[in-house]
Amino acid sequence: MSSVTIDKAAPTRTVKLGSMSRDRKWALRWSYFFLTLFAIFSLLPPIYMLITSLKSSAEISAATNPWWVFHPTLENYVGLLTSNQFLRFFLNSALVSIFVVTITMLISVPAAFALARMRFWGSATLATGVFLTYLIPDSLLFIPLFKVFAQFGDWTGIQLINRWYVLLFIYPTLTVPFCTWIMIGYFASIPKELDEAAIIDGASWFQTLTRIFIPVALPGLIAATIFAFTVSWAQFLYPLVFTTSTDQLVLPVGIITTLIKGDVFNWGQIMTGALLGAAPPLIIYAFLMDYYIAGLTAGATKG
């Protein structure tokens, strides 16, 4: 609503800013204010990590301004990146995450397709059930899960506890339900006529999934992948419980257990390790975000 006044004497117009744009202006100001506040709040820890990682142990313990590096050094980076132990943690984390993402996608995408599209007896209940399993916190689950794997070891003689690959069985209990739920949502948003057209064109259910649904729901697939990767990369409780030997540890647990010796905290290397550990998810976010944002369903139907 803008009011326009026309001066009849001269052919010039003065357009006053109406209430709508004034509202918008204030909304924007408040948005910027809170977003800046939030950015400062969430960026302070990584910045502090970066600053600390560039300091020597002596400088960290010295009573100087903690927000400034007076004698920058890369010794923490060199120390970690040349340590076989740290590289082992990194490799374990990478293996676990890549396998978990693969396993999760292989299970949750077909599961979501079946639950969203192949109407069968109990499919709606099952879909809700899948999500409910996600609501059980891992801090409640780890003890029974540990018992399960311990007994499995006793009965079969196959020892899974204290092996990094035990995590490949455990992480999917977190990732599969949530990713299935995300994918159900994405698949449900694909118009019904699209699979009917594919079926009439002669596609099997599997071809409909691989040639129509997966390409169309790519943004959802990427969201689910990012989620599964982040969960398995950052998971702390399960690896702390299930793995103990140094060569079986993943990054988050490895950093804590090896760089804290008794009551001695090697802050420089802890911060460096945490920073290096945060890099892969960041890189993956940056790489996949473009695909994620692009809406691919545009043009399928009227709209």
Binding site: I200, D201, R211, G299
Partner: protein, 366 residues
């Protein structure tokens, strides 16, 4: 290409019977339009022919074979959907060739068929575009192209023009008719738009509440409707229905509309209706074009009466006039130069040679 037959086909969803035992024979090359209001079962019938819905009872035959349990892909049909249902990640050419690629046709064959269909539909320039780069009309052409390249036995159209604006709808209607004249594939077309049904169909199937009301050519349905539903559904503006009684008056049969208005029936009509009981409650069915301005020279069966118009709607080539007859709203069509004005009195003529007489209770045209 093939004929299609439906035998006592029933579709039941839990307690609701969507299709209540319909019989329909569609000849090879024929263009059949299923028309009716929302929820009349026309789309369900189409989807049962496609195999997208199971049938509860009865038989569906395509080319003489019962296909009740044959999956859609083996029925050799192609379907065009209301919302186009194009694959958004594929180009126009890929969309059109998807079915052929799934069946592992040779590449050269696919290319020639796609090129041919694109030429037929005038979308050759769009072949490398994605659906989102196309307008609504272009998308609908691609959807038709996808059906044509398959060279199926039967085309199924599910309200394909409903998403287009009025002008484009008329244009695409003509395109569809042209395409059918060229490829001559047996076609079943569903619409709720009676104009589309009349203009496209070889024969129209009017459906209501899960049953077929009448099957016939567009002209048959228009001029010889079997029921009140068909008479009222086909034609725009709709047919007028006026409560009336038959009376004998001085040796002639006459029809009494109100206490004041009664007309003698023309001889042909009188002979036809003479055997009807005089006590029945009847309806006079009269299309608006048979209610016109009164001319000086009246032919046989043309009766005049005076009324006061409620509303007039100038349409350019004609003016629609609305008035009440004993409380029943009536619509007539008069010449734009006849001087019809809102609220003005006017002398109108009723052409009883084109009248229909219906039983009010059963809705059957007598």
């Amino acid at each position: 290409m093939a004929d299609v037959a439906l035998r006592k086909v029933v579709k039941r969803y839990d307690d609701v019977e969507a299709v209540r035992g319909i019989d329909l024979d569609i000849a090879d090359h024929e263009f059949i339009v299923l028309v009716g209001p929302s929820g009349c079962g026309k789309s369900t019938t189409l989807r049962m022919i496609a195999g997208l819905e199971d049938i509860t009872d009865g038989d569906i035959m395509i080319g003489g074979d019962v296909v009740n349990d044959v999956p859609p892909k083996d029925r050799d049909i192609a379907m065009v959907f209301q919302n186009y249902a194009l694959y958004p990640h594929m180009t126009v050419a890929e969309n059109m060739s998807f079915g052929l690629r799934l069946k592992h046709y040779p590449k050269a064959e696919i290319k020639s068929r796609v090129t041919e269909a694109a030429r037929l539909l005038d979308i050759t320039d769009l072949i490398d575009r994605k659906p989102k780069q196309l307008s609504g009309g272009q998308r609908q052409r691609v959807a038709m192209g996808r059906a044509i390249v398959r060279n199926p036995k039967v085309f199924l159209f599910d309200e394909p023009l409903s998403n287009l604006d009025a002008k484009l709808r008329v244009q695409m209607r003509i395109e569809i008719k042209k395409v059918h004249q060229k490829v001559r594939t047996t076609t079943v077309y569903v619409t709720h738009d009676q104009v589309e049904a009349m203009t496209l169909a070889d024969r129209v199937v009017v459906m209501n509440k899960g049953r077929i009301e009448q099957i016939g050519t567009p002209n048959e349905l228009y001029h010889r409707p079997a029921t009140r539903f068909v008479a009222g559904f086909i034609g725009s503006p709709a047919m007028n229905f006026l409560p009336c009684r038959l009376e004998d008056s001085g040796g002639t049969l006459q029809i009494r509309l109100t206490d004041r208005i009664a007309f003698a029936l023309p001889p042909a009509r009188a002979a036809r209706y003479n055997s009807l009981p005089r006590t029945d409650k009847l309806l006079l069915g009269l299309r608006p074009e048979h209610l016109t301005e009164a001319h000086a020279h009246l032919g046989p069966g043309i009766e005049t009466f005076d009324t006061v118009l409620d509303v007039t709607e100038p349409m350019g080539m004609e003016t629609l006039v609305y008035f009440g007859l004993d409380g029943t709203p009536v619509c007539g069509r008069v010449d734009p130069n006849a001087g019809a004005k809102d609220g003005a009195p006017m002398r109108l003529a009723m052409d009883l040679n084109n009248m229909h007489l219906l039983n009010e209770a059963t809705g059957v045209v007598l």
